[in-house]
Symmetry: C2
Subunit: 338 residues, 2 copies
Amino acid sequence: MNVTINDVAKAAGVSTSTVSRVISDSPRISEETKQRVRKVIKELNYHPNAIARSLANKSSKTIGLILNTEAETLVRNPFFIQAMTGISQYAQENSYNVMFAYNKSEDGDLDIAVRYVNSRSVDGIILFTSRTNDKCIGFLTRNNFPFSVIGRPDQTEGVLWVDNDNFKATNQVTNYLIMKGHSRISFLGGPQDHNVSRDRWEGYKKAMTVHGYSIDKSITFQDGSFSEEFGSECMLNMISAKEKGTPLPTAIVTSDDMQALGVLKAMRKMNVSGIAVTGFNNVPISLYQNESFTSVDVNASKLGFFAAKLLIGKIEGRKNLPTHYIVPTNLVEVKPFY
Amino acid sequence: MNVTINDVAKAAGVSTSTVSRVISDSPRISEETKQRVRKVIKELNYHPNAIARSLANKSSKTIGLILNTEAETLVRNPFFIQAMTGISQYAQENSYNVMFAYNKSEDGDLDIAVRYVNSRSVDGIILFTSRTNDKCIGFLTRNNFPFSVIGRPDQTEGVLWVDNDNFKATNQVTNYLIMKGHSRISFLGGPQDHNVSRDRWEGYKKAMTVHGYSIDKSITFQDGSFSEEFGSECMLNMISAKEKGTPLPTAIVTSDDMQALGVLKAMRKMNVSGIAVTGFNNVPISLYQNESFTSVDVNASKLGFFAAKLLIGKIEGRKNLPTHYIVPTNLVEVKPFY
DNA sequence: TAATTTTATGCAACCGCTTACACAACACTA
DNA sequence: TAGTGTTGTGTAAGCGGTTGCATAAAATTA
């Protein structure tokens, strides 16, 4: 039905191997023959069949992407789609395709990984998860299947990963607040089974102790979810603690913009103001506020880009490759509503 | 390296064709043999190679997705990622893979489509674009390549598409405002080269005329972009027109939540209040406001789901399939900040 | 019991491309 | 001039499956 390498070979009066070699620009073919074959290829509008090529090369030139996140998060946090654009960009630059599968169920990601690996439809996988003891990582490692992870995993031994320096990020943002004159600074952390949560906590702690400020347990919260609810809850908590004599913080370092939004909503609700809030991800919250709000932009598309770079480097067996990339973050002052 | 159908055949003492038939559960194989072969398959942990299968079947069992949207839009509007989850869901239920490629450049989508089609790495394509005279649609149609479109295209002849009833949506939301007592209602439209813009305009117009309300040209705006800027611009425009005697509307029907946000920001800036605003897409804007704000949820994941359904139906040559689906919308009252 | 049909399986070609190896033609060396 | 090396191209065997056709064995019919 479609024009194949055979048709080209016949039309050009050469063998298929010659055509194949012309396509890959092999030095073993004379310039003359190359010209002739290329002309026929143009005329017949021939394009190699990617699947046949994959079979012969034992390589699909495709990377798989597994999204195993709550739809809610996917929708509110542009992180994922941004990372995906970065992945797609690097993949295209290197003639790779990108497959993705979304599955929100627990262990759904593992099922997909198993399918990808067994059917050999992808050459490697990019994981978004970075939970401690991730099952996918275990599975892929055991099967010696190329993969890279967005978010530093628990066990980095033999794993390719990209991440921000989360320690540095909260350290920086805390220092920034301190520089602005704050000393009583609250902290809201993320789930304890994410490394990112521990790093962010340490970064905050370091900045505080270096400046000689105490860490008040009553205004630091850990093992929370990256959600609005958790943010509101913590803020309300602090507001009610105030009545029992615990003064409110003058600034709050949160681990996610959703948390920050929750904090701001609770502040608004309880008519509290004048507290500087910081978050992560530069989510387009666009809220009307006269509060000071700063977000750490994690540069998600770069994270995706480098995750793809690491993975494809591994697939192609390139030598002397880094095992990870640290993508810089930058502070973004979120413009108030007016 | 990996266990193939040959290994299974040898181990089970049958031919590869028998193994193949066992896998596809052919009725021509005896129950006894099936059992035996299946046992070997388990023991050897055999999984068919998807690529070899694709080559033999001349079908990749993969659909391609082309994202050709400004990164800014992709990030702010959850529409795309939502649609993608819907597509992925239907694809998985039907054993299809999903490939995606992101390219924001003008005609980048066409390049990707050409690559997908020529290399035959996908069996069909889902387009997000619905610009009038879309080049991709033309290309795919000419090549008789299966595709479906999210967003009713200009020429529906022979095209599979899904969309909301955009006429009905703005009609409904306008009626809703009228029901609430509004009669002087402004309208902000989208780009004229999108069908959706015309439909939304007509829906608004119909509701207004049916109720005998005039359409005041000075408070209706068309051919705008789906952006905050356009929203602000129109609002500022109306505010300054007020000084020249044109009264402000009491409600504004916009074609996008970003436009609505722009309107709200401009109102805030100019200290105008008490105008009901509506938008589209149920974007998580989370703004602090005491204004009334209603969004039309377009049910993006359903749109994706049905686009995949139409496409896969076409690919598999199913008969008596619909040529399009209309996905219902629903009004969402966006909760104010408190 | 022989003829016919049904059932279960194997053979081999094919999907479209890559590549190790063979080999002819020519150029160079001794 | 025979021997050796280089260059350009073809042959054929894969890659890992699917499937039309042939066929042997078993079941059915007359």
